[in-house]
Amino acid sequence: MVFFSVDKLEPICKDIRADILRMTEAAGSGHPGGSLSAVELMTVLYFNVLNHRPQELEWSERDRFILSKGHACPVVYAVMARSGYFPVEELLTLRKLGSRLQGHPNMKSLPGLESSSGSLGQGLSVANGLALAAKIDKRDYRVYCLMGDGELQEGQIWEAAMTAAHYKLDNVCALVDYNNLQIDGKVEDVKGIAPLKEKWLSFNWHVIEIDGHDLEQVEKAYAEAKQIKGKPSIIIAKTIKGKGVSFMEDVAGWHGKAPNSEELEQALKEIYVQEGSTLKN
């Protein structure tokens, strides 16, 4: 497996962001906000962390990734395409009739997806099941699961949190995309989830808090999680919804709305301008 240095990952993240915007613009709908916030988490995972073979999907020893917040599938489709699962051009079929890239992930239509999701709160349980099977069979694969912060309002997440700790599933690494926005507004205003670190600690998890847009911190967090034995780990990644596009950043309205062509053009300019000369200036 080839490892990518941070300066190699940065341009990949830009491409992933551009993919998310292009595909949602082409679809005319979709969820750019919570996809853009998870770009670094997903890019590092697919390019540097996952032990996987995009050309050998049924490889039994592969690490698994479960997308619990299914609406963020644009970022997953983009990292999958960019890491060799399917052609990048196919991204533009998102949400179209007959596309393998369904509006929410369908593992039956797109090989390489490890589960189908869309109804929130269910992924961590699935990740636990995969991890438990690895324990039973004495296999070394690890299971990663991305959850939204608003999603943590779902009760099943906390059932699963107890299960993972009870069965000592140290091969589970959960990720929270903590962008603090959900459809109806700020998570803390809709129904607060803080203090998040303390909650997971009290559920007997190893907790790692990071800036979810700092590639070095993301890398280190995955490495730390891998070293933890006897308990599951969770990376609470502080992020910005719509990250990378000035008019989308930290705006709840961009949860489930696609950019139009003018907005796409502006967004792409922002993403690809050199550092220090963003349109914000």
Partner: protein, 315 residues
């Protein structure tokens, strides 16, 4: 007549699977004694997982196990699995066609004194509306064991419904059981009783009485609700001209609804439906409840006479 709860058949089925199929795992949600999964737990503790009182998580965990190639049997009361975890079954399991076997205990009003909250009366409706789902409602302990074994060797999501109370064991080990193929227990030409679950025995008793009255009554054990044995239902309608469905479940969307859907599209004949008529249950002994909610052989005989009158009016 030997009496045995269908849940015992499930417990025995799991025990046999434990010996013959290493992929089989059993999950329960704190009801292992009642659902009989504790029999498996004692023999195969390393393949049994109590997920605690967390049904939604149990279904999700089972989905993950199935993704890894295991054959998980998730078990709890029907109300809590088909009802509470329906979305998990729909989105994570049925949509992805995962090989999860769902066992719903305590189906029907015969659960008795625990009352309405624990009497599952809706699972047939809830499960048969899901694409990819297989749904089996066996009639006695022997058939439940066979169904348990059959589901393990079948790929894809499936639901098995069984009951709490001891009920007559009226099939034999040598009877052939095949998912999707109903069993005609009695031949007849005037009328057909189509039932599922232990209440099929009441249908058999009713048929004996009806035959004494000179009414030639066919009895079909429709143990698989999905995929439904359409051909046999249509044939019964064409040959006998009147149908009574018999179930310990809401008729709305239940076996009654399922049979009616087939008949109106293919061979409409008068139908009467024995079952729960859009109401919740209540506490009482199973016998009292069967009497009050119209689930005895006497009620089936009354419904049969009624449907025959309607058949005559038409003719």
């Amino acid at each position: 007549m030997k009496m045995k709860p269908t849940r015992d058949g499930y417990g025995e089925g799991l025990l046999e699977l434990g010996k013959t199929n290493p992929l089989v795992l059993v999950l329960d949600a704190d009801l292992s004694k009642s659902t009989r999964t504790d029999w498996f737990m004692k023999e195969f503790p390393e393949r049994f997982f109590d997920i605690g009182i967390a049904e939604q998580d149990m279904l999700g965990t089972a989905a993950g196990l199935a993704l890894a190639g295991k054959i998980p049997f998730v078990t709890t009361y029907g109300v809590f699995v088909a009802g509470r975890a329906w979305d998990q079954i729909r989105t994570t399991i049925a949509y992805a066609e995962l090989n999860v076997k769902i066992a719903g205990a305590h189906g029907g009003i015969s659960v008795g004194p625990d009352g309405a909250t624990h009497q599952a009366l809706e699972e047939i409706t809830l499960m048969r509306v899901l694409p990819n789902m297989i749904l089996v409602v066996p009639c006695d302990a022997i058939e439940t064991k066979k169904a348990t074994l059959a589901l393990a060797s079948l790929q894809g999501p499936a639901y098995l419904r069984f009951t709490r109370e001891a009920s007559p064991v009226f099939t034999s080990e040598s009877d052939i059981f095949e998912i999707g193929k109903s069993i005609t227990l009695k031949k007849g030409t005037d009328l057909t009783l189509i039932g599922c679950g232990p209440i099929v025995y009441e249908a058999l008793m009713a048929a004996e009485e009806l035959n004494k009255l000179g009414i030639s009554t066919r009895v079909i054990n429709m143990h698989t609700i999905k995929p439904l044995d359409k051909e046999t239902i249509i044939k019964a309608a064409l040959e006998t001209g009147a149908i009574v469905t018999v179930e310990e479940h809401q008729v709305m969307g239940g076996l009654g609804g399922a049979v009616a859907e087939i008949l109106v599209q293919n061979s409409p004949v008068p139908v009467e439906m024995i079952g729960i008529q859009d109401t919740f249950g209540e506490s009482g002994t199973p016998e009292e409840l069967a009497e009050k909610y119209g689930l005895t052989s006497r009620h089936i005989i009354e419904a049969s006479k009624k449907v025959l009158k309607r058949k005559t009016c038409r003719a």
